[in-house]
């Protein structure tokens, strides 16, 4: 395990030397993205909600909420509650 971690740090160090440090705007974008994702998850802690409900609770734009939701559903953190018209609801996947 120690060997593995050492090899990874060496590779990342060599990469940083070759390409320079990670772009600041990329890190900023990632931080913002993570914080918005957390806001969406926090909004859903109190129970299932639609996108407009999450948007008004978090202050995020509805289109951004949809993108965050798409990622959270794809990677197994949220599930969809079906609907025929209007808006779908989303809820946090219970950990088994």
């Amino acid at each position: 395990m120690e060997d593995k971690n050492k090899k990874i740090s060496e590779q990342l160090k060599a990469l940083n030397e070759k390409k320079g440090p990670v772009n600041k705007s990329l890190l900023e974008y990632h931080r913002e993205n993570t914080s918005k994702q957390k806001k969406v998850l926090d909004a859903l802690k109190e129970g299932e909600k639609t996108i407009p409900e999450i948007a008004s609770l978090t202050g995020l734009d509805a289109r951004e909420v949809l993108v965050k939701i798409a990622g959270l559903v794809k990677y197994g953190k949220l599930e969809i509650i079906p609907a025929k018209t209007g808006y779908l609801k989303y809820k946090i996947v219970e950990k088994k």
């Binding site: 994702q37 407009p52 509805a62 289109r63 949809l66 025929k84």
Partner: protein
């Protein structure tokens, strides 16, 4: 650049859409060796991203996946993915191609496709397989049934946190991997580089790609696909299930002003198909197709069109002069009905799909002196009898690279390109 490698084959196929795969299988089955090169991380081309296909409404992925598996497992077909053909030159004894294999930053021979790296990666990005609608990670396997199932690390978006490498059970993340130069010597070549759709901003009057609820026809395919980006057809501005959806026909074809004066042959049919699928998945929604004339030219296509009419899809003969939006991002179409005495009218829809045309995927073909028609598609000197010929001995063309066509015609032409290549391999004096 990493070391150079050299390969030999009977036929080099550029592109692994349905045209490339079909030609590869036919030539491989006849006992000749094929190298099939694909610039994307997976084979399958556009067809693997479609929802269902007209006019049978077969699931596109269910019929493409077996072809992908067959060509990837074929003993005489070698596939090279995430590899781009840069240049092809004609030599006395065949062709020589220069290829660049892009780094995935994953040691392919070790990877067991467990997806642990993808799960661990904290960086979420727009997913190009979903044409920008869905989300992927900075390291991800391109899509569920991609072949091969290797992840690709996006070096421009990676924040170098090391998480993927730490969880990889096979230690196969290689952050320092370099591109590889490959030379292929081939006796014959088939170009199957396919198409792109006319850009969303081609027509200024249609919102210049700034209207969030005006989407492309390929995005609509993904919304309708079983494993689409949102799990249901939702409009991008707020995730609403759209109550009213419109199609704008000839949104990137039959228009001199954008340099695409020809009919793209498939847009009427794919719009009708998508409308039928929408009326199945959103039975309470109203679906309208604004068209000038419907071109249902193939076998069973007229019946398909009539079936759509019978299902209650509105066909409105009107020219869409302008597309804009209101403050809620509802889409406003300014239409001129093709009826005597009718005045321009504004209509609102929740979601609008542009039925874009097909244009060549490349402006030039690898430095080869191949003749193109006035629209940039490869021109055959014998269109009527031998559409796969290019005018260069040993060089053939298949699929949309030679002009817009549907899947059945693409498959037939790929078979024809394979036959021409086999004939050439058997009769030409090449060592």
């Amino acid at each position: 650049m990493n070391g150079k490698t050299e390969h030999n084959c009977d036929t080099l196929i550029v592109g692994s859409g349905i045209a490339g795969m079909q030609a590869a299988l036919d030539i491989g089955d006849a006992g000749f060796n094929v190298i099939m090169v694909e610039k994307s991380p997976s084979i399958g081309g556009k067809m693997i991203s479609l929802s269902k296909v007209f006019p049978t409404l077969d699931c596109a992925s269910c019929i493409t996946t077996p072809k992908m598996a067959a060509s990837s497992h074929h003993p005489r077909v070698q596939m090279m993915t995430y590899t781009e053909v840069k240049n092809i030159s004609k030599k006395a004894d065949g062709f020589e191609a220069l290829l660049i294999k892009k780094p995935r930053f994953v040691i392919e021979s070790e990877c067991i496709s467990c997806r642990k790296c993808e799960e661990a990666c904290p960086v979420y990005l727009e997913d190009e397989f979903e044409y920008g609608l869905g989300v992927k990670k900075a390291i991800s396997i391109p899509f569920t049934n991609a072949i091969p199932q290797f992840p690709v690390l996006d070096e421009e978006k990676c924040i170098r946190c090391g998480a993927c490498a730490r969880v990889c059970p096979k230690d196969c993340i290689d952050y320092l991997q370099k591109p590889e130069e490959i030379t292929v010597k081939a006796k014959s070549v088939i170009i199957a580089t396919g198409y792109e759709i006319t850009p969303m901003d081609a027509k200024k009057e249609y919102g210049e790609n700034k209207l969030i609820n005006v989407i492309s026809s390929l995005q609509a395919e993904r919304l309708l696909a079983p494993h689409g980006p949102y799990g249901k057809v939702l409009r991008p501005s707020d995730g609403k299930i759209p109550d009213s959806i419109a199609y704008v026909q000839c949104a990137g074809s039959r228009d001199e002003s954008i340099g695409v004066p020809y009919c793209s042959r498939v847009c009427c049919m794919y719009a009708i198909k998508q409308a039928m699928l929408l009326s199945g998945s959103l039975p309470l929604s109203e679906i309208t197709i604004y068209y000038m004339d419907i071109r249902a030219f193939g076998k069973g296509y007229e019946q398909f069109y009539n079936q759509a009419r019978a299902m209650g899809i509105n066909f409105v003969k009107a020219k869409v002069a302008k597309i804009s939006e209101d403050s809620q991002h509802n889409v406003i179409l300014r239409i001129d009905r093709q009826e005597e005495g009718s005045k321009p009218q504004e209509v609102k829809h929740d979601l609008v799909v542009l039925s874009q045309g097909l244009i060549p995927s490349r402006k030039e073909f690898f430095g080869l002196d191949v003749k193109l028609n006035e629209y940039g598609f490869i021109d055959s000197p014998a269109k009527t009898f031998s559409p796969a010929l290019t005018g260069i001995d040993g060089l053939f063309v298949a699929g949309v690279a030679s002009g817009p066509k549907d899947i059945p015609d693409t498959i037939m032409e790929a078979g024809s390109a394979a036959m021409e290549a086999l004939n050439y391999l058997k009769t030409a004096k090449i060592s």
